[in-house]
Symmetry: D2
Subunit: 337 residues, 4 copies
């Protein structure tokens, strides 16, 4: 932490900052420039809420020097982490495709979709049983019944399974049926849910919040890992910007930024981010080229009749075309697929 004083700060102002810091058992390091005075703080910063120093007289700004996340931080864990989900592994040498419907609708539908995505190369079946919807009047999911269908469909085709969870109750149910749980964008800073996901024992896919910075996202991952669960996979799914041509703006530069800051695997979701099936294929390829460890893609047997997010779902044919076109990109990136 560095404290930058205002130009011509009074000596007493500098003195009172120094004594505040030292009173809390930290050391200070004074640097007097021609224009400004700078105070470095050395020691265990958890001992005082240093941000409050900005209310001291003549203090201009506080600049943090170290990140607040430790367990997710590459500085303290330089090797990339691989996360095992059922019979598959998400990490640096492979390309993991999670595919399936936005919402689980019927058992028969899910079996059909599972068969199709397995055939085209997906290794994880996705499907929502608890749907967080903007309007209370939209379809909210089949809940535990949906989880059961997921388990059956996964077993039948040798697919691992993932479902979004929105509450402790949903986590308790998910543990019984699926291989991985997902924290959605709207819950990325639902810290209670993050802790519960951390205690669930299941690997966790953590979607980026619609307006979360990369550092807030890594702090959210820290909540999960701090509960003893190191199996966290990050999913870039678009951020909210002023552009309305796509539902959100897929921030692919987050992938190389994350590679520098964390050892956790990163995947991308070109379906939710763009909001249109027409943009899924180019953005899936771009995500692979940017270094993603996997993709989450919505596939539906009849998008026009989907109960949720039909506009962004691929048909079986389009999904098969996509995965066959993706293969050589994965190989160029040194990934098996």
């Amino acid at each position: 932490m560095i404290v930058i004083m205002k130009p011509n700060a009074a000596p007493q102002s500098v003195e009172s900052v120094l004594s505040y810091i030292e009173r809390h058992g930290l050391q200070t390091h004074l640097s007097q420039g021609e224009e400004v005075t700078i105070i470095g703080i050395v020691g265990d910063k958890t001992k005082l809420p240093t941000e409050n120093l900005v209310s001291y007289k003549d203090v201009d700004r506080i600049v943090p020097v170290t990140e607040s996340y430790k367990l997710a931080n590459k500085k303290f864990h330089p090797e990339p982490t691989s996360v095992t989900v059922g019979n598959t592994r998400i990490g640096p040498d492979s390309m993991t495709i999670m595919a399936g419907p936005c919402a689980v609708e019927t058992e028969e539908q899910l079996i059909n979709i599972a068969r199709a995505v397995k055939k085209s190369g997906a290794s994880i079946l996705r499907g929502g049983a608890y749907k967080p919807r903007t309007s209370p009047y939209s379809f909210q999911g089949l809940e535990e019944e949906g989880l059961r269908y997921m388990q059956e469909a996964g077993k039948e085709f040798g697919l691992a399974t993932i479902c979004e969870v929105v509450s402790q109750e949903a986590i308790e149910a998910a543990v019984k049926y699926v291989d991985m749980i997902q924290i959605g964008a709207r819950n990325m800073q639902n810290f209670i849910l993050l802790k519960e996901a951390g205690r669930s024992g299941l690997p966790v896919l953590l979607k980026r919040g619609l307006c979360a910075t990369i550092d807030e996202w890594l702090n959210a991952a820290e909540y999960i890992i701090a509960e003893g669960n190191p199996n966290v996979v990050l999913c870039e799914r678009g951020i909210r910007t002023y552009e309305t041509a796509t539902r959100n703006t897929l921030d692919l530069s987050a992938i190389p930024v994350l590679r520098e800051r964390t050892h956790l695997p990163v995947i991308a979701d070109p379906s939710h981010s763009t909001g249109s099936y027409r943009y899924v294929s180019p953005m899936a390829k771009a995500a692979v080229a940017a270094g993603a460890d996997g993709l989450m893609i919505e596939v539906h047997d009849n998008p026009a009749c989907a109960l949720s997010d039909g506009p962004q779902s691929l048909t079986f044919g389009k999904f098969e075309k996509l995965t066959s076109e993706l293969k050589p990109f994965c190989h160029l990136m040194g990934r098996e697929f």
Copy 2:
């Protein structure tokens, strides 16, 4: 809902959209322009997921015509709602000041703050007992103990009380001690929590999410009201933009927009939005002038030592100065204070 076809859409494409809509029991209304064909949909739109129509051939865009929120909608409830909280009332004729520390720290501190804010004109005591913090290593609140202190401090000075809740457990505890619960910005689309808040029986202060549109915010309010709880107050607390001079950007134009769209009361939080005590006073006055029904303001006996959000807290002296300066603005707006 209106379906806009692409220029020169094939007649069969138009036909198949028409028959899809009519098959679901809705009526259509065809309008053939020189350049484009437009199809209006008449009837109960909950019968089909009309958004999926964009995957139909030659469909250009779908334009919604009516809002998805009904109970929060001014169109169906033109008179402004007043919400009673303890011995006070939030609504069109009054100016409600909610003041107190970001986090409840000790009993003694809270008593001191409560005395000071009461003296300066606050009618509701705010104080966090459950703190959602970006980092898992930051102070997370006193929980139920903090609620108890709130109740005592409220009683001693005749203040109504409000606390943020972050889980069902917190709601269950809050019901025992405080007069109003708050859903924070990070939980604005935690739909499970919204429903539980709706069932709590307590009035709810719903903060706007950091990247929520006004319509998403009203849909979140709809979740609460749909559970049978009409006592919802909205709180504008800044949205996330690219500007870094303030923590967030207080969107005061949301106030007149909300006045057109909803009958619910609206307050503003100049403390969290700006992130600095230096900007609280001008933005508080601006919020009153823009039409706010109330203000939420952080006050601390010793901001430099606050365990949370010290930089934005007012001292007792600054708070007293603010409320005395606010009075004539409130009177100009026809509000008692």
Copy 3:
């Protein structure tokens, strides 16, 4: 400027940063913490492009300590500046209302509008003669003829006049007819135009760019002042955010932020920012309460027939109502009006 090294930076890396800085005639100040090493740079930073230091080995970040604008900076010019425009003065004790049509359409129309805005308390007549329009097929303004009408209307009613300029040619024409020129949001970083405005000799209203930070805005003002023209007035006119209920988001907290950073006057434009006449009145009052030195408001004799921006224009009646309601707010703020 402070250089923050990565944790465990090699001593040679630190050494090579130190020697790079010192080679350019600047002094360094080394601060070795437990986790990180920090290097302060002392001296005239214009001597080396310090940002490049991030490409040095083991450098984590560069933190600027001083602002790049000097002439616009309050630190070096603590007293507020007043700017004289024709027979009026924009500054701390008055409330300056600039009002008029978005675009000058006909001589007769402008005379009518000038009469009405003068009667209701405006002191500066605004009107666009050179219109920057998103589409090349929209009405682009009357150019010099429009300026001439402005001059006549101003003279007839004793109003000072302001027109937007979009090119050197427009500045040359404006100098002959009007009292103040305006640089629009889209040209805020058109540095050539800023320099020409600086050399024009006329006072300049500098609108904030749609996505400009406050510091970029002040740097743009610096371009004008650096040409020897200190008569710059800033105009907050809304920034681009994801919210679509208003055209842009009026960032009123920019006003108190600017009060700390610069001595220049600041006004607000509630017409362009909100895009709707229905929100002009509450946002005008809010801007005054936030500390604005003036307002720019669009007024039209027949908004439904305006050639540009009709939806946000006030009728004469609405404008008169607004100014009479504004008066007591101005008096509360210690401003004559």
Copy 4:
């Protein structure tokens, strides 16, 4: 254009909208739903400023149906355009690399860089002679002298050349020396400059504004084409968002969106968008995979000493590594390189 009336709009309100439209020689098409009345407008909309209709009583919203750009619009020009620049061609079958320093500094430096980028596969030499800089105190470019060096370096190595222009004067100079001119992000809505670029006769690279929507960008292209210059290439260079880990957010989904809306070629700039040489390579590959027709990349012989934008410049070695790694991605996309 569609006019959506408010629910329960009075018949007289509907009537007055209808008569306003018809008075201007346009036809109307009335669609009366259960909840809302919708009025379609048929005919030449340039005859009336339809946006003003929102000020009519009981009008809820105006929805545009057709885009305002025509010449840039794929609907009226379905085949992709190729743009010839010197001895190279930007379009669907090739991968055009524009490389060079941010700013031209000395003749010798430019020759060295030109040799290196030619060797590694670039076909266009970029280099700034007129630099738009945030601060008036930063290096502003060598102007015409810089253009002369560009011409020489281009000739010596058989490279086409591109320079940014910031004024009519710069365009007049550029026409004498270089093969293509660039309109930078800050000037994207400098409509005077766009028109002058359109009249220059040279092909134009049009960078996206930092906060421009895709439709505003296409309207800016329309300004150039409307002057008789069809040789416009679009360049995605990042948009401004709240994320600070990268300088801007490279919006790669703009590429497939543009493919649907326009016939113009599209390239991407991974250097300016990310602001860091460390992210250039993954984002360059991602841009190719997303369908870009080319890339603009900053290369410098000694980034640590660059007078502008050193942190994002690649060394010769890193640039060579990048182009050799890019080759197979280009071939996968069916592009020669």
